[in-house]
């Protein structure tokens, strides 16, 4: 092997390895760029009135997004109530009870549902929850988001339940507990950390969804009382304001973006930190 060729190979080695490092650095720095951008532009516009006031009429400056923030919270609550129990119990079925073929079918279907683009879920929720009652509503928005939260919850629940050591289950049964009792009082509490993490991550994911809400919850200038009226939400307001030409609306869109991102990131970071510290089963 000639000296030159060896030198070439060695230089190529260093070059390529450095490039991979650069690539990783680049990707990570994008995250910080996004955060920085939002903090800079959004931070300037965050004030008390943003959180407490309703939007002003078009073209007038000032006002806030109180109704959008509350709207998003209500939608998340609905998504949690409608979607999380389904995900949890389906996950329990897959991990504890499932027969071979049916489990495969359910897992495959859950995967399909997970891959459905959010805008198509929006179409579905419109035909399911808006047309029959002839009403855009918070409830319809909650249905759309709940459906989207199901696959994530199913997967994480099943995974964490499976990770519970068999010895725990056997111990409980040896003491005379029935299967459902074992699950309820031994297995589920053991996997509790991971399951809750999965649920919170599912909610964080649907909190940022916009497209399905455009056809279900529509939007609202005012407070939306109850569950059967249209409601404003952070993502839809960001979308509407960002597209406009009003500088004041742009300002508010940045601020809303910051709030939304903070919510999502805190949920993601917080739950994963709690999970790793809690000593529950490894990784999601």
């Amino acid at each position: 092997m000639s000296r030159l060729h060896l030198l070439w190979r060695k230089s190529l080695n260093i070059l390529m390895l450095t490039l991979t490092g650069v690539a990783a650095l680049l990707v990570v720095s994008v995250l910080f760029l996004i955060l920085g951008c939002l903090l800079w532009n959004g931070g300037k516009s965050l004030n008390l009135s943003f959180f407490t006031q309703l939007p002003k009429p078009v073209g007038e400056s000032g006002g806030g997004m109180a109704n959008a923030i509350v709207g998003s919270l209500k939608l998340l609550l609905l998504a949690a109530v409608l979607g999380l129990p389904v995900g949890l119990l389906a996950g329990v079925y897959l991990a504890e009870f499932g027969g071979k073929t049916f489990s495969f079918v359910i897992r495959y279907t859950t995967d399909i549902l997970n891959g459905v683009p959010s805008v198509v879920i929006g179409i579905f929720a419109y035909t399911l929850a808006v047309l029959p009652v002839k009403h855009f509503s918070t409830f319809a928005g909650g249905v759309a988001l709940g459906v989207m939260a199901i696959p994530i919850t199913v997967r994480s629940t099943e995974e964490f339940l499976r990770a519970v050591p068999g010895t725990l289950r056997e111990g409980a049964m040896a003491l005379g507990a029935s299967k459902w009792r074992t699950i309820a009082t031994v297995v589920l509490p053991a996997a509790k950390g991971g399951i809750i993490t999965g649920m919170l991550l599912a909610l964080a994911r649907v909190a940022g969804e916009t497209a399905p809400l455009l056809f279900t919850a529509l939007g609202n200038q005012f407070w939306s009382p109850g569950w059967s009226q249209p409601t404003a939400s952070l993502p839809t307001v960001i979308y509407a304001y960002a597209l406009s030409a009003y500088d004041d609306w742009h300002r508010q869109a940045w601020a809303a973006g910051l709030v939304l991102l903070a919510l999502v990131l805190v949920a993601n970071v917080g739950t994963r930190l709690a999970l790793s510290r809690g000593g529950a089963a490894r990784g999601v």
Partner: protein, 341 residues
């Protein structure tokens, strides 16, 4: 754990109960053209009548027509009147008439963002048709230049902006272009959503204004108030009498005055109106109200609002650059409001 569940249930119940007081909630959707006006009106009306809350979402005239047809909103709004087919469809699906109520007069203006040009450009009808057909591609094209002697038009590509959503503003613009150019009429036609030969799409008047404001050498058609509120330059358009007119309250009112008599169902086009002072791309905009409203509280609220709108409400229009309804139209509307059952 159990206590928490009880608390949550109580809170949910409370939240639901809060919706059950005597507030009348109306939901409407549609045109972005009059959105600044409606947004002001509904806010003001809510302050006058705190128990009535009208939530208006500007999703485009196409949306207004669609959703009022589907019955998912209490009323719609559109600057393109519903076609005969759409009205027949409404009657077939909902078993009643759909009534048009003019609210204000507005104008579509050709707004532009050209570097180095601060004056008002004059656009002939041929120029506008050519730009939107894609046959006129540069700002210094003779058709534009000959109407603007002395203006330093750049030799730059024209960035054409139109609506990406179903729009009454588009209806008004394409209605005008169809009258201005046979080419346009045959190739593209007039509708709330057309097959645009060229250009970028913006969502709503808001989106088009946004695009024009941020894109150099662009042109887009938007409602007058959007150009004013966002400090976007807009040009004069040549009317049927050959004069170059800038859109303002006087010229829009002139267009309404010189048009033919208002038909009984209020569906009329006043683009390319005759008369030397008329702005050629003017239009009424309508609220679409179902003929029968079973809920008495909602019916009274809508009727009350409509009566307020054609009287006191008209005082707010000029502040937002919309022209008031002509007196004969107001008189006709007063009678039509009583038709709502």
């Amino acid at each position: 754990m159990k206590k928490n569940i009880v608390m949550v249930c109580l809170l949910l119940g409370l939240a639901a109960a809060l919706g059950a007081d005597s507030t009348v909630l109306l939901n409407g959707a549609g045109a972005t053209f009059p959105n600044p006006m409606y947004s002001k009106w509904f806010d003001t009306y809510h302050q006058l009548h705190p128990n009535i809350q009208v939530n208006y979402q500007s999703i485009g005239s196409g949306g207004g027509i669609r959703q009022v047809l589907a019955g998912t909103v209490d009323f719609g709004a559109s600057d393109g009147p519903m076609t005969d087919e759409q009205i027949a469809e409404f009657k077939k699906q909902r078993g009643m008439d759909i009534l048009h109520f003019p609210t204000v007069l507005g104008a579509d203006v050709p707004s532009y963002n050209i570097q180095g040009v601060a004056t008002d450009l004059k656009f002939t009808q041929k120029a506008l048709a050519g730009i939107y057909l894609g046959t006129i591609t540069q700002w210094n094209d003779p058709e534009i230049a000959k109407a603007n002697p002395g203006v330093n038009l750049p030799a730059a590509d024209i960035v054409v902006v139109h609506r990406s959503d179903g729009s009454g503003t588009t209806y008004i613009w394409t209605d005008f272009l169809s009258k201005a150019s046979d080419d346009w009429k045959n190739k593209v036609g007039k509708n709330t959503s057309v097959n645009w030969p060229v250009g970028l799409g913006g969502k709503g008047n808001e989106g088009v204004s946004g695009l024009v404001k941020q894109t150099p050498n662009s042109i887009g058609y938007i409602e007058l108030i959007y150009a004013v509120q966002n400090n976007i330059s807009y040009g004069e358009v040549q009317n049927a009498a050959g004069k170059f007119i800038k859109a303002d309250l006087a010229s829009v009112t002139a267009a309404a005055a010189s048009s033919k008599d208002m038909p009984e169902d209020f569906r009329v086009s006043i683009t390319n109106a005759p008369g030397p002072a008329a702005y050629p791309v003017s239009s009424f905009t309508w609220l679409l109200i179902p003929g029968k409203i079973p809920d008495a509280a909602k019916r009274d609220a809508i009727k009350g609002f409509l009566n307020w709108m054609i009287t006191d409400g008209q005082k707010y229009t000029e502040g937002l650059s919309y022209a008031q309804l002509p007196k004969p139209v107001v008189a006709k509307e007063k009678k039509a409001i009583s038709l709502i059952q």
